[in-house]
Subunit: 277 residues, 2 copies
């Protein structure tokens, strides 16, 4: 059911890639998992799910974030899924911000996307069930991500507050209904009725719900996408109005890259581990 | 003279890529530098030169090794050159282990390679002079590398013991004269006279010289290239005979990848910084 594609020992634990046939997205999906050295059947470890940004696969975070030293120390697993369904028969688009590599963690309702682009179900239901079935992990989980995946982490966590312990994001698209990336993806995957978009917009979700989960957001102030696409002030102001435990940290001089993520990932892993007990 | 190609803030310091026209290798060369936050004109920092392995560019180490947190803490710069001359007019070969991406840090003597493949001169002379001219660094330097670049680090350090303070390597080709990668490269770049090869073989250099520099080598015992190509026991036994301060650490379960490097790079940076004072 799971095909092991690679394994590498790292910081005393293991990085492994797997492929499996996914029911939610109706194609083969690849994911990667980091298992800390403490992992064994009698010591199930909690899991941080990492959702990546546009154009990424399961590999970007695992190769570039530098997260394993602290994850090994604290005894937490990390799972990184791919960012969309993929394959010859899967709908695609020439843009880097639509189609394969750009699933936006929604369940698409519009043809031809709805056939495969059910990434919300994949990430919230199928993948955690698969991980809990095949690896010695506990049911305790948190969710984190970058850019499109930061949007994904916020939406996944906010819509499933009893399932996750905490949310963190780097440079997230906090208000996709109000930026070009989000408007392009949502109109394509979800259609023109903006009421249908609100279930996948972190700012709208905070407006409409009581939020108990702690949220940490890091945003570089030299990020080229800051003003047009990311708009972190939108979520900060709504969170403040609603009394949500959300910390937005503007990081001076940092951009949108994995150099930024690697600079603060240790603090994010520590943040989640406070709640994964 | 130096063209800045990119810059990213990371761990409070800066990662920057540059291109320049190289006299030694007669083409444009690219390198990357990490400058720790302590760097300024009144506080020149020491430099670790990192030499990468087959197929790599200046980017692999900088993106995947996770070295910047400790380098920032300890205040050391890191410079990563490309692994060969490159360009349309530069000789090449279809193999991944010869030609562009596979310069082996030697000065080629055989046509057509000798036109550009003068990587030994580039790495030991031109690049350090350029770095010391353009960045606020001291003349204190150490050298490290991986696989082909571990061979490079050993050869560069052993042949220039007054220039470098220490040598370290991950999974180095310690005895290129006795393995397929080395024999292919040396016969192509240096010709058939094996006496000419000895100047670029770490084991032969230790045999022929007094060695004062401290050397640290990490080698994974699950490395697929261990037995045929790497042969760390060859350098360990010669070093022992000659009383060289060389520590070879066999690391159980680790392979040839950057997952291995990232697991122990902090210890290598600390090792060098002991001597960069």
């Amino acid at each position: 059911m799971l095909e092991n594609l690679s394994q590498n020992k790292v910081h005393g634990g293991w990085h492994k890639q797997y492929s499996h046939s996914s029911d939610s997205v109706s194609c083969n999906m690849r994911f990667a998992i980091f298992l800390p050295p403490q992992t064994n059947e009698s010591n199930p470890v909690p899991v941080i799910y990492w959702l990546s940004g546009l154009t990424c696969t399961d590999e970007n975070f695992m190769q570039k974030a530098g997260a394993f030293k602290i994850a090994a120390e604290l005894g937490v697993a990390i799972v990184a899924p791919d960012t969309s369904p993929r394959g010859e028969n899967v709908a695609d688009n020439d843009g880097y911000d639509l189609g394969q590599g750009a699933g936006f963690y929604v369940n698409a309702t519009q043809a031809p996307w709805s056939n495969h682009y059910q990434m919300y179900d994949y990430v919230t239901r199928e993948l955690p069930a698969l991980i809990e079935q095949h690896f010695p992990v506990s049911k305790l989980k948190s969710v984190a991500g970058h850019s499109m995946g930061g949007h994904g982490a916020l939406v996944v966590g906010l819509k499933n507050q009893t399932e996750y312990q905490s949310i963190s994001a780097f440079s997230p698209i906090v208000n996709p209904m109000q930026c070009p990336w989000g408007q392009k993806a949502f109109s394509t995957y979800l259609g023109d009725n903006k009421e249908d978009w609100k279930q996948y917009d972190a700012c709208e979700l905070i407006k409409a719900n009581d939020v108990e989960l702690p949220i940490l957001i890091d945003q570089g102030d030299a990020d080229q996408f800051l003003i047009e696409q990311l708009k972190p002030e939108n979520i900060a102001s709504i969170a403040k109005q609603k009394g949500v435990n959300l910390e937005l940290r503007m990081q001076p001089g940092y951009d949108h890259s994995y150099f930024f993520i690697s600079s603060f990932i240790e603090e994010h892993i520590k943040f989640h581990c406070q709640y994964l007990k």
